[in-house]
């Protein structure tokens, strides 16, 4: 997978990803235009399908709002690569079939606009200046859920089979 990097700093909290005042909009699609507005109000309109979000440590900290990963997926980001993730966000991302990769050292190695390559076979990120960054494989249980397209699809199949 290859994509254009959009780079954010550390401690991106879920209030930045989607501020509370937009949380009663009826759909995630409608919330998308306000994504990251406290920090980068122009960002939502400039994301292209297949872009890759790169960030520092503790991405997605704060509230449990699941609209955060849903919006990132809906905006068209192919994945989020960060130094580390907050745990509720990490779970919510995989639940929604959004690929999230913890990659130590990545924040300093990528500039906004860089075209970076994610090699899922060898668990490596390649940057334009020749940088190579390894990451741990995703646990099988989570990989299976990603494969199924998220938790909703997983249970849809299960419940359909049972009925």
């Amino acid at each position: 997978m290859k994509g254009r990097a959009i780079v954010l700093p550390e401690n991106i909290d879920t209030d930045i990803i989607i501020p509370t005042q937009y949380m009663t909009l009826p759909t995630v699609r409608r919330m998308c235009s306000y994504a990251f507005s406290p920090l980068r109000p122009e960002l939502a309109a400039t994301v292209r399908r297949g872009d890759i979000l790169v960030a520092g440590k503790n991405f997605g900290c704060g509230s449990s709002r699941e609209q955060a990963p849903e919006i990132i997926r809906e905006l068209g980001f192919a994945c989020v690569i960060a130094e580390s993730f907050a745990r509720i966000f990490y779970r919510n991302a995989l639940t929604n079939g959004l690929l999230v990769l913890e990659v130590p050292g990545i924040a300093a190695g990528v500039k906004e606009g860089d075209i970076i390559t994610v090699d899922m076979e060898y668990n490596k990120i390649l940057t334009p200046d020749g940088g190579r960054y390894g990451f741990a494989a995703i646990p099988d249980r989570l990989a299976a859920m990603l494969e199924a397209g998220g938790l909703v699809n997983y249970y849809k199949k299960l419940n359909r089979a049972a009925s």
Partner: protein, 419 residues
């Protein structure tokens, strides 16, 4: 094999006697809570997944608190969808205007020591103060739990906080947890459990313990546990049947990820400065910072003791004429007690705005939202960009005493000025 408290709770639920840190286990769940922000999403996903009935209506609690009273026309949709789901599935534990979910769950006896409890809100960790393994999850995972009564959890390593000694005058549980934020950082307990112990924690009231556990998620913690004791039992016996704390403590010699020691005697009043919870400074270094508003409330510090401290500082005085002082008791029951004890009268006579129990300003969409250039001293748990209105409102998180002192002075000042 020796285990920490959080591991023991997992073992009781799974019979995995050899459980180790990092193991992923599927576990039964004792109680779940869904709040109004997420009712449309959670119940929508439940239906989409193809479930026809919930696993156990008695174990499900719905709380309307983030959108109470409604501020926008679209808010009522969340309550309507909640009500329809509750009716369809025979869920009777529905709180429509009783207060903040994390106060109601313990207060109404929905949580016991040793339970595994999940909520759609990150501050579900609050119930760790009763010795329950409680954590926040997303609404899709909650939808699956509603259908199955089960979830997978990873046995996390534990950071032990050993907090000893007596708190100095003017220093409270809020200052202790702000010190913890300063020491650990906003991701210092990511994927880990915090365990609070030591003589200072044992001496704390149940109200104060809730403040500690509540903010453990601000360091990224999965749970914030306190070993239950006689005080916990007294609290629980008034509220539910079958409370039992036997064996609910970490084994002597259990392996901790690390142990952090804090000497309570050395603590001072602290505040978390904009825009991160770990940007913590002593209040004395912030002396004189002008403020526009004060908020006393939330699941962190909207309890009876918090109102009492503020009423004692403010009683008989007038708040600063340039300051709006907003008070929101965390539950209806706290509100009524505070009325009987005269706290509400003292605060209202001093010039406070008293609002009905709810998340209020901490949910950031009603009841006192601010504009850029304004500053607030608040007793809640988060001071992120855009948390209380415009994107550059400056939020200083502090104890109820420091908040009350700021309301009188119109600026940040040590609570010791008024104690």
């Amino acid at each position: 094999m020796k285990h920490t408290l959080s591991q023991k709770i997992l073992i009781r639920h799974t019979e995995e006697r050899g459980l180790q840190s990092g193991d992923i286990v599927e576990t039964a769940v004792d109680r779940v809570m869904i709040h109004d922000f997420f009712t449309p999403f959670c119940f929508g996903k439940f239906n989409e997944m193809g479930f026809s009935r919930v696993w156990d209506p008695d174990k499900i609690v719905l709380v309307y608190d983030h959108l109470v009273p409604t501020s926008f026309i679209s808010d009522s949709r969340h309550h309507k969808i909640g009500d329809e789901f509750a009716r369809a599935h025979g869920i009777t534990h529905v709180h429509r205007a009783d207060g903040v979910c994390h106060q109601l769950m313990p207060e109404h006896g929905y949580v016991k020591s040793g339970d595994i409890v999940l909520g759609t809100d990150s501050h579900t960790v609050t119930y760790g103060a009763l010795g329950a393994l409680a954590t926040g999850i997303g609404y899709t995972e909650m939808a699956a739990v509603l259908g199955t009564g089960k979830i997978w959890l990873k046995a996390a390593p534990t950071i032990r906080l050993e907090i000893d000694g007596e708190l100095p005058r003017g220093v409270y549980a809020k200052d202790v947890i702000l010190c913890v934020m300063q020491r650990l950082g906003a991701d210092g307990s990511s994927y880990k459990v915090l365990e609070f112990g030591g003589s200072c924690v044992r001496d704390m009231s149940q109200d104060q313990r809730f403040t500690l556990s509540n903010m453990s998620v601000e360091a990224g913690a999965k749970a914030g546990l306190i070993e239950p004791d006689e005080k916990t039992l007294d609290y629980l016996r008034e509220r539910c049947d079958g409370a039992n704390i036997d064996g609910l403590k970490s084994d002597e010699g259990a392996a901790y990820d690390r142990v952090v020691e804090i000497n309570a005697r050395d603590l001072k009043p602290l505040a978390a400065c904009p825009y991160n919870v770990d940007n913590v400074k002593p209040v004395e270094d912030l002396e004189g910072v002008q403020i526009d508003q004060v908020f006393l409330g939330s699941c962190t510090n909207g309890r009876l003791e918090d109102l009492k401290v503020a009423a004692e500082i403010i009683g008989g005085k007038k708040i600063h004429p340039d300051v709006r002082f907003i008070v929101v008791p965390a539950s209806r029951s706290i509100y009524m007690q505070a009325v009987r004890l005269g706290y509400i009268q003292a605060l209202a006579e001093a010039g406070a705005i008293i609002n009905h129990p709810s998340c209020g300003l901490c949910a950031g969409r009603s009841n006192g939202i601010l504009t850029n250039g304004e500053r607030i001293v608040s007793t809640n748990n988060r001071n992120f960009l855009g948390r209380m209105g415009d994107d550059r409102v400056e939020i200083y998180l502090a104890s109820p005493a420091t908040a009350a002192a700021a309301a009188l002075a119109g600026k940040i000042t040590s609570p010791l000025t008024y104690l």
